[in-house]
Amino acid sequence: MAEVVFIGLSLASVLLLVALGLAITYGAMGVINMAHGEMVMLGAYTTVLTRIYLHLDILAAIPLAFIATALIGYAIERVVVRRLYGRLLDTLLATWGVAILIQQAVRLELGASFFGLHIAGLGPGLQNVAVPPELTGALTLGSVQVNAFRAFIIGVTLLLTLVTWLLMYRTSIGIQVRAIMRNPRMAAACGIDVDRVNALTFAYGSGLAGVAGVMVSGFKTVFPDMGTPMVVDAFLVVVVGGVGSLLGSVFSAGLLGQLNGVTAFLANDIIARAVVFAFVIAVIMTRPRGLFSQKAR
């Protein structure tokens, strides 16, 4: 059973990395970013490309994926999302479009396939990433044997969650983000450059999703559509946790990850999905603002 809980924890970790970015962007800016899952996918492809072209492993891919997806996130905010603040449904549709564009760009190898060229690592096929030898095998924690790579995922998530918390609660930019979450108009009247802070927040959230993509690539196949289910799961986490609440996202990711993991162990994956969805529906019916919403005063 300890092993099952551990697997649940590693699933929850990936979920949390994806959801943290959404919790901040949805909470601070009221933007439903459907292209967030594509950041996970791009993070996973960064791992593939890093191995093929730079001959480096997953560890080196983490910072590269963060930088690449943060830059792409920044560009999406500047070009598309910026013009849609205050129009929730429009952000959903527009970012969905962006998501499809990104998927196709990967599938069509950035357009090279039209000219009969092939870029190794891209294209519609499946890609696999080898986990480096130091992260394979098992670790012994007390009396329990745990998978080393899953332990690594949990460690990276703990670290990034801590960094995010410090950024949000101990830095000037974090105070600005939180002020915008509570009252964007007043934040602007206090001299906060809301546009700039929003762009940086969006980039940071995208970067976290990119790192999650690196983690996912270690235990799942990498392919152009892989981000779509991720964004759905991450939104479930945000909705259950409460919009704009970091703590809520942490708890809710843990809860949903474990619920999924344990049910999958006791029954099977399909039942586990059903149980998770039933739980989320129950939460939305009884606590529409989520379990930890600060707006539900």
Binding site: Q176, R178, M186, A188, A189, C190, G191, I192, R297
Partner: protein
Amino acid sequence: MLTLDVVDAFYGRSHALHGVSLGIPEGAITAILGRNGVGKTTLLKTLMGLMERVTGTIRLAGRDITRAPAYRRARAGIAYVPQGREIIPDFTIRENILMGAFARPGRRVIPDLVPELFPYLMQNLDRPGGVLSGGQQQQLAIARALAADPKVLLLDEPTEGIQPSIVEEIEAIIIRLNSEAKLTVVLVEQNVAFARRAGHHFAMMEKGRAVAAGAMAELTDALVHRHMAV
């Protein structure tokens, strides 16, 4: 200090200000008067840059700021104390005050005026803003505006909904901020007695237009009766 030249402002499709031309003299208190819903709050939002669409020209010390976003106006020296205070309940009193300081360069510090004017806030810096009474929250909102080290202070009904004992205190503070700290004050007020006591100039609004303006001595009872009697 601040001049408006044929300014129109809109909320979506509804036309809220109609051709308002007005001068706010430097170093004085200008009271904006009128009944509810005539555009007084809209006027302050227009000055702060919080309206969706504005036409005409707004100048701050001669500089055209009509197209400047709110945060640039804040950094140029306009501070806003909105109706309803809009402090952040789950931020500490310190964080609420320091929010204002994003508008000024350098390290964010609580200005010297704040402990002098609001000793209660200074003794409770680490408590959340939400536990304060209405009057204390009003003081907090003023302290936040002062943290920006502003030149112009926009106050929207600062004594509305506050227990009478604190109203006088807040009135005295507003007068001091103008006379001692030399702030230019734009004061939206329903209380004509206070406006007359504190203000040097006035502007009377009706249906989104400035219908009269001038020195406070020119604010006759007939004018008040015509535009403010319910």
